[in-house]
Assembly symmetry: C3
């Protein structure tokens, strides 16, 4: 019996199964610097202790997407090592703020299993939760992924997952304890535009483009300890479908978020991700642009200082977004679009 | 009205205008590690807490050029997003030492405006100041940049800037409070050569060469949150003047400084930059070499332990510097030269 | 006289000579993050403070190989700048655990000198020791390297080195003070396989492959402040033996170790390196795979919680290791093999 982890196959999962994922990870100022070097993110809240302290926090919290990537990465060896396709994620709610020195761990519960009719694979639904070292939830989301069967003849357990909500209700968004935006400095934050200045339907071209190098996405994906093989192994991928390494979809999310600073500088924190489509694969050499549409604008109960903005951010490759590429009249995505992300940000009022 | 920042055009500036730049930035041990990975710098003062403590400092201060790049980066979105050319900088004086955990912010004052005769652009002179979280000045410099006009017909304010000194006078150089070099360990620092061992006119070949990869300069420039587009966007630059991304000039300064360790290991701190010419652009794939000439040697008032050395460091690409490439008989720069930097370093006596 | 360091030539060394190497280096959480980004290492002990604390340590110690690379890097400018070949290393024992904030320095003693018969070079044997800021030994090893003579006619001192042991005896392995594995969490660590589950002769394919980019190995090697020219200078290497930059052998060791997590996740700490052969050079673009053989299994005196496993880990390039490539019937290494490393790890019982 080999001691190498072969990953779980579809028939290995059971409804209600709980998986504690390996390698807890202390997130540090080192990760913060690496993250800035990778994406150039400029949101003041996660860049400056003094700025965070002026808003009542003990120091600058870790960027939400860095938290997401680290928690997500831990689930890969158990959930998606034998994935054929990452189908989706939803109801992704950020909880307690994460600070340098916190240690994150992750666990998943299998909430749904549906075998494909060809008996060669099935869809696994999991609810994954990231926690800090004192057990507070920092992230909670649902994900579904198509996983190979090891043995086509093996009996495959079934069970329907409750459908996750298409949109996280605004009253479930969490504002970090102690955050108080009454002393928010718009000049230092980089924009004078407040929550109330954004109109539903408004479109914002984030203007800038960022080209991705092979070393960059690989450094990022290793930083997250994400072990999905397609991102790292040119020897096998050269024989694969695309002939080259695929970029981790989360890398594009982080790039699009960093680009979105130009137009959404006061969108200081991601509160939830409602869902996302990785419409097309990306590769080293691609230049990523982004634009956003305001989908909704909601006040938050009991808060006069902060509101929530629901955004759709679209990333496109090798195509500047001044024309807001989205879908054609035929409902098909514009050929340049690679990411279509639906999420909530917090913004000062 | 778009919420995207279009940057300032020449006619948007006013003499005396003060601009507080966005995104204060906490500099951490993470940035220190990233900086070492990018350049391989070996100056003991900024590499080792124990070394710094033996000289009276609380811990290893942040490398001066990392401070420079971070402060400079903040000014880009407001000052030079619509630049045609970065023309120069001068009178750049480093102030209070910066330590991990300090938060840097930057502001600029417009001190000169001169429209070009073609009415399509003008030269903006700014004095930019970087401060730490308690308001101490860490960096103060003058910069001038040629900026496009949005509208050729727009009236353009004028105003002459006082000419910055060609050389920062030695009596304006600042030695970090508490720095005491009486216990300086030359062996640990990597060289036995002291301030008094360097002769004016002496030339030093730094011998080593370093090849730059696309991912490296992009990681660096994002680490500094410098948003100048030419460094990042291959999609547009492939159509541009050079067909490829330009490397941030400061990346070459940092590489040349790191290479200069071999011959100037005791030049423990940059006290001031008198000026610099980015003689030719650099691109991924270029190999950078450097050599230095001693321009001046000055004692510092009231200090027996430390003196100042004025250096001219020249970086060349794809050309080893044993022949000290500089200018030809015709006064034109040697074709391999890419940087000609004039600065003061502190060195133990 | 130039102030540039030309490095030592064979005739510059003397038996018994002690060399204190330059640039002490504070190792930080920044280095930890950079190391994870470079290799994706997932061993829980060095990734999570909470995990380390559950085992009695104050926080997560620095990865042993990061310590090795930093200490090794310091020796390069004095020992091997004029090396023709790095011939070997042995008896490499890890001592006191290193924590973020510790400052490492290195010194070497010349223990053997043997001139080659052609009088153009000779073999230098050194014992190098890395220490933390309070003088505790963190690493101690013997290394031998073939170094050029500056002057063929120069008299060359001789002296035989005591032959280092082929294998570090298990009773010389050091377990970090306070480490107590009684509360070891196998699930969080990523494997249920304990020390007693591994059989001598057992082979483990680590399955995954990792492609190396030029920027990655250069960032790593600069992070270690290793100045060996062949890793950095494409301008000269394009004219050299391979036409391209050579990857630092230690980069391959770290990659192989990170890959070995898959099958050896509980090999929580490297206690000693018995020796290693860098069988073939590696270059950017190579994909590294690895497999391991269990060579020995030894209890540790007075410890019921932890034992030692002697491993041979072989790295191969562009060749998956399911067939355990090693040596042919003729005793020659398999053409894909690039590294053959013999070392001890600690593992919970």
């Amino acid at each position: 019996m080999t001691k190498t982890n072969p990953g779980n196959y579809f028939e290995d999962f059971r409804i209600g199964q709980e998986i504690r994922h390996a390698t807890p990870r202390t997130v540090t100022e080192g990760d913060v610097a690496a993250y800035i070097a990778l994406y150039g993110s400029r949101f003041a809240l996660s860049c400056a202790d003094s700025f965070a302290q002026s808003l009542g926090l003990p120091q600058a919290p870790i960027d939400d997407l860095l938290v997401f990537h680290i928690v997500f990465g831990k689930t890969v060896p158990d959930i998606s090592l034998n994935a054929i396709a990452n189908l989706g994620y939803a109801n992704c709610i950020f909880g307690a703020a994460v600070y340098p020195g916190d240690t994150l761990s992750a666990s998943s519960t299998v909430i749904g299993l549906r075998e494909n009719s060809n008996k060669q694979s099935g869809v696994v639904y999991v609810r994954s939760v990231g926690r800090n070292q004192v057990g507070e939830v920092v992230l909670d989301y649902v994900r579904w992924v198509m996983v190979r069967k090891r043995d086509q003849a093996a009996p495959a357990p079934q069970g329907d997952a409750a459908k996750p909500p298409a949109v996280v209700p605004a009253d479930q968004l969490q504002v970090p304890v102690d955050l108080n935006l009454s002393r928010y400095d718009y000049m230092l934050a980089g924009s004078r535009h407040r929550w109330g200045d954004y109109e539903v339907g408004e479109r914002i071209d984030h203007a800038d483009g960022m080209t991705i190098e092979e070393a960059e996405h690989a450094l990022a994906t290793r930083l997250y300890q994400n072990t999905a093989r397609v991102h790292f192994n040119q020897h096998t991928e050269s024989q694969g479908r695309f002939g080259k390494r695929l970029i981790y979809g989360g890398h594009i999310i982080s790039l699009a978020r960093a680009l979105s600073f130009n137009g959404l500088a006061n969108g200081l924190k991601i509160a939830a991700i409602n869902g996302g489509s990785h419409v097309a694969p990306t590769f080293a050499g691609d230049t990523i642009y982004a634009w956003s549409e305001v989908l909704d604008r909601q006040p938050l109960k009991g808060r006069e200082d902060v509101g929530a903005l629901r955004l759709r951010t679209i990333a496109a490759k090798d195509h500047a977004c001044a024309d807001f590429p989205s879908k054609g009249a035929d409902g098909k995505p514009h050929p340049a679009v690679v990411l279509d992300l639906d999420y909530w940000v917090l913004m000062p009022r």
